[in-house]
């Protein structure tokens, strides 16, 4: 079996997976809110440029989007990490997957946050 300490971030698998479940739970509630808000108006209206921007300007909603973004990136990329980890084994490969998924999470969160932040501050 591959030793588990190739992970520089020595997080036990159980902790990682608890985060996976935790993020999923958080997401259930928040995604529901996110979708319901969209459905509270006519769908095509919800996509109007002004309406969307208005959403971003509404701070609690923007904050929620940020939280969803973090939860889902963590959950989604960890899910992907799990699948990839099971596909192929090897110390170098697994290290790449573990780091890769962390990097992917950070990139996605950063990219999404940029939108939320800039749109929220009215920079567009």
């Amino acid at each position: 079996m591959v030793p588990e300490y190739y992970l520089v971030i020595k997080m036990k698998e159980s902790i990682i997976m608890k985060i996976h479940y935790g993020t999923a739970l958080g997401a259930v509630a928040l995604v529901a809110v996110h979708i319901l808000m969209r459905l509270s108006q006519k769908f095509s209206d919800s996509l109007q440029y002004q309406n969307v921007l208005a959403n971003y300007h509404f701070l609690p909603y923007a904050l929620m989007l940020e939280v969803i973004l973090i939860l889902l990136s963590v959950h989604g990329f960890n899910g992907l990490r799990v699948i990839l980890l099971e596909l192929k084994q090897g110390v170098a490969y697994e290290r790449a997957i573990n780091y890769g998924s962390i990097v992917a999470m950070i990139v996605l969160v950063a990219y999404g946050s940029r939108t939320i932040l800039m749109a929220g501050m009215g920079l567009s």
Binding site: V28, L39, G79, I83, E86, Y111
Partner: protein, 144 residues
């Protein structure tokens, strides 16, 4: 022993949802929907980022997504999301050791109690909810 003789079933075996009953189908759908949702999430974040480039860019993007093809994708996403959520909740509860049956002396012919009818019902309900949500979504999106 060289891995080429290891006779592992490989991805094909992992993916093949037939042969082993409903739990295996649910496993496969959960994976597929998880991946699909991840892909959508990435796309969605890219999609929303165009709002920073002004109304023209945003509308440009809308003209790409607000199409029958784009709506079809959304309907699928709705289905995946609902199934993944429903089945995900089942999994979280079960993987915590709840609702997977109680150990006891098995009786021939053996029927695994972790594959019990409640579990199967939950899977069917997740599938049904996903189907309903997709129909509703399709109604909203394709209706006028």
């Amino acid at each position: 022993m060289a891995e080429q003789f290891s006779n592992r079933e490989g991805i094909k075996g992992m993916i093949n949802p037939t042969r082993y009953g409903l739990h295996r189908v649910a496993y496969w759908l959960q994976r597929l929907s998880g991946l699909g949702l991840l892909a959508y999430l990435i796309g969605h974040i890219y999609e929303t980022s165009t709002i920073l480039n002004g109304k023209a860019a945003w509308n440009n993007m809308l003209s790409l997504t607000e199409t029958p093809g784009g709506h079809l994708v959304l309907v699928l996403v709705i289905g995946m999301c609902v199934f993944h959520t429903g089945n995900g909740i089942r999994l979280m509860i079960s993987e915590g050791g709840k609702g997977v049956g109680k150990p006891g002396q098995p009786e021939y012919p053996y029927r695994a109690s972790s594959l019990n009818s409640k579990q199967r019902l939950c899977i069917w309900v997740s599938i049904a909810l996903a189907a309903l949500a997709m129909m509703y979504g399709a109604g909203v999106l394709f209706g006028n």
